[in-house]
C-alpha cells in the first residue's frame, strides 16, 4: 500500500516537472544576425535557462538549509569507524542497478564486476567493501541511453535532484521503475539510499563546493559545465577522450619572445 502511494507521488512529481518545463519561460534566442551570440547560445544548449536558474536558486537554498547541515553533521559527529560500513552499504546497494545497465550497454566485464561486488558483500549484509582495489561500478539510465546513441539534449535543473539533461531525466525516471533494489526491497529502501547517498556525497565535497561558490564568476554556469563534463566522463567509464576532441590550445602566445612582448604591453596598461 505504502509502495503504491509513493509511486503515485512520484508519477505526479514527474508530471509536474514535465508541465513546469513546458510552461516555463524559455530564453529568447538571440537574433540570427548576431553570429557570436547565436553560437554562444547554441553552445550553452540551455533554452530553459531562466527557469533553470530559478530552480537552481531554490535548490541552493534547500542545500544550505537541509543538505549542507546534514552533511556537516555526518562528517563531524558521525563516528568515523561507522562511516566505511555505511558508505559501503550505499555503494553496494547501487550495484544491482549498475549490473542491469552494464548488461544493457553490452559491457559484460563491468556487469560481472557489479554482480561480484554485490554478491560477495551479501554475507556481510552489504557492509563490506569486498574489492578495495577496484572502483565500484556506477551505471545508470542516462549513461545507457547515451551508449545507445541518444543525444544529451538541453540542460535541465530538476527540483531537489539537481543538474540533469533531457536524456538523463528520462534515465532517472526509468531507473526509478527498473531498479532491482526497489522491486525486491521496496521504494523506502531506494529512497533511503538516495538520501543517504546525497548526504555522504555532499559531506565529501563540502570544501570543493564552498571553493567553487567563492571563486566562480557565474556559479550556475560553472555547475552546468561541470555536470556535463562529469557525465561525459562517466559515459566513457573514465577512459580518456580521443586526442582530437580535446580543445586546442597553442603555444604561440607563450613562446619566450611573444611572451616578453605581451608582458611589456600589459605592464604599460
Amino acid at each position: 500500500m505504502l509502495n503504491s502511494v509513493f509511486d503515485i507521488k512520484v508519477i505526479r512529481f514527474a508530471a509536474a516537472v514535465t508541465v513546469m518545463g513546458a510552461l516555463s519561460a524559455c530564453a529568447t534566442p538571440p537574433p540570427a544576425g548576431d553570429q557570436d551570440a547565436r553560437a554562444a547560445y547554441e553552445e550553452a544548449n540551455d533554452p530553459f535557462e531562466p527557469a533553470n536558474r530559478l530552480m537552481f536558486s531554490a535548490n541552493v537554498m534547500v542545500d544550505q538549509l537541509v543538505l549542507q547541515p546534514a552533511a556537516v553533521t555526518y562528517r563531524d559527529l558521525f563516528p568515523d569507524v561507522l562511516k566505511p560500513p555505511v558508505e559501503n552499504f550505499i555503494t553496494n546497494l547501487f550495484q544491482p542497478l549498475s549490473f542491469l545497465h552494464a548488461l544493457l550497454q553490452g559491457d559484460m566485464d563491468r556487469a560481472e564486476q557489479a554482480a561480484a561486488r554485490f554478491f560477495t558483500a551479501l554475507p556481510t549484509l552489504l557492509l563490506a567493501d569486498t574489492f578495495p582495489d577496484r572502483k565500484p561500478v556506477f551505471e545508470d539510465g542516462g549513461q545507457t541511453l547515451a551508449v545507445w546513441g541518444f543525444e544529451e539534449g538541453p540542460y535541465v535543473m530538476l527540483p531537489l535532484l539537481g543538474p540533469s539533461s533531457v536524456r538523463d531525466t528520462f534515465g532517472t525516471i526509468g531507473d526509478f521503475f527498473a531498479d532491482p533494489v526497489r522491486l525486491i526491497a521496496g521504494s523506502e529502501v531506494t529512497t533511503g539510499r538516495s538520501v543517504g547517498n546525497a548526504v555522504v556525497t555532499r559531506s565529501k565535497n563540502l570544501e570543493h563546493v564552498r571553493e567553487l561558490q567563492r571563486t566562480s564568476l557565474d556559479y550556475y554556469a560553472a555547475v552546468r559545465s561541470l555536470y556535463r563534463q562529469q557525465r561525459a566522463a562517466q559515459i566513457r567509464n573514465g577512459i580518456s577522450e580521443p586526442a582530437h576532441s580535446a580543445p586546442t590550445i597553442g603555444l604561440d602566445l607563450d613562446e619566450p619572445d611573444t611572451d616578453g612582448g605581451k608582458k611589456e604591453t600589459a605592464a604599460t596598461n
Binding site: 557565474d218 566522463a233 597553442g250
Partner: protein
C-alpha cells in the same frame, strides 16, 4: 630556469633517429611534470612563508609551467577575436592575477599527500606544429581513493608548457571557458565585460 636547462639537455640527448625523436616529447613531458610538481611541493607548501611570498612563487611557477596566455585566449573564446590589443593585454594580466590569487593559497593546506605520475601517451592532433602529450597522474588525497589528474603538455623544440589539466575527466580550461562565456553573453558580449568582472574578483 633550471628546469628549462634540464629540458634542453634532455631534448639534446634524445635527438637521434627520427622515430626516437617522435616519442621523446612524451618522456620529456613526464620529466617536466615531475620536476614542476617537485618544485611546487618544495617551495609552495612551506608553512613559514607569507601569503605574498607564496603567491609570488606560484606566479613564477605558473608562468614557467603553463601556457598562461594560450589558456587565457582559449578561455575567452570567440570574444578574443574582436577585442582590442589594449583589452587583450589587460585581460591577460587580470586572468593571471585571478588564477594566482585563487590557487596559490591552496598549497598552504598541503600536508604530504603523495603525487605519482603513472605514464603518458601521445595526443598530438593531426597537422599540428606542436607535439602534445597526455601525462596521467594520481594525487592521493586519501590512501585508498586517489584523484586522477591528467596534464596536457604541449611542446615545441625545447619549450614545454601545460595547456590543460583534467581532474577526474573534467577539464579546467573547458570549465573556465563555459563560465566566462556565460558571463560575457549576459553582459554586453565583449571582452570588456569579462575584464570588469575579473577586476572585481581580483580587488574584492
Amino acid at each position: 630556469m633550471r628546469t628549462i636547462a634540464a629540458f634542453v639537455l634532455v631534448v639534446a640527448f634524445s635527438i637521434g633517429t627520427s622515430a626516437a625523436r617522435a616519442d621523446s616529447h612524451i618522456d620529456t613531458s613526464v620529466k617536466f611534470i615531475n620536476s614542476l610538481s617537485n618544485q611546487a611541493i618544495e617551495t609552495l607548501t612551506d608553512a613559514s612563508i607569507t601569503t605574498e611570498q607564496r603567491r609570488a612563487e606560484f606566479r613564477r611557477l605558473f608562468r614557467d609551467g603553463f601556457a598562461v596566455n594560450g589558456i587565457a585566449r582559449f578561455v575567452a573564446g570567440r570574444y578574443w577575436r574582436k577585442a582590442s590589443d589594449a583589452d587583450r593585454a589587460e585581460y591577460l594580466k587580470l586572468f593571471e592575477d585571478v588564477i594566482v590569487n585563487t590557487w596559490a593559497d591552496r598549497f598552504s593546506q598541503y600536508s604530504g599527500q603523495k603525487f605519482e605520475v603513472r605514464g603518458a601517451t601521445d595526443a598530438t592532433p593531426e597537422k599540428s606544429a606542436e607535439d602534445v602529450a597526455l601525462v596521467e597522474s594520481l594525487f592521493f588525497t586519501s590512501p585508498t581513493s586517489p584523484v586522477r589528474l591528467e596534464w596536457r603538455v604541449a611542446s615545441k623544440g625545447d619549450l614545454f608548457k601545460i595547456v590543460d589539466v583534467k581532474l577526474e575527466g573534467i577539464s579546467m580550461a573547458t570549465t573556465q571557458r563555459d563560465e566566462f562565456n556565460s558571463v560575457v553573453s549576459k553582459n554586453g558580449r565583449s571582452l570588456e565585460a569579462l575584464i570588469e568582472e575579473l577586476r572585481r574578483r581580483r580587488d574584492g
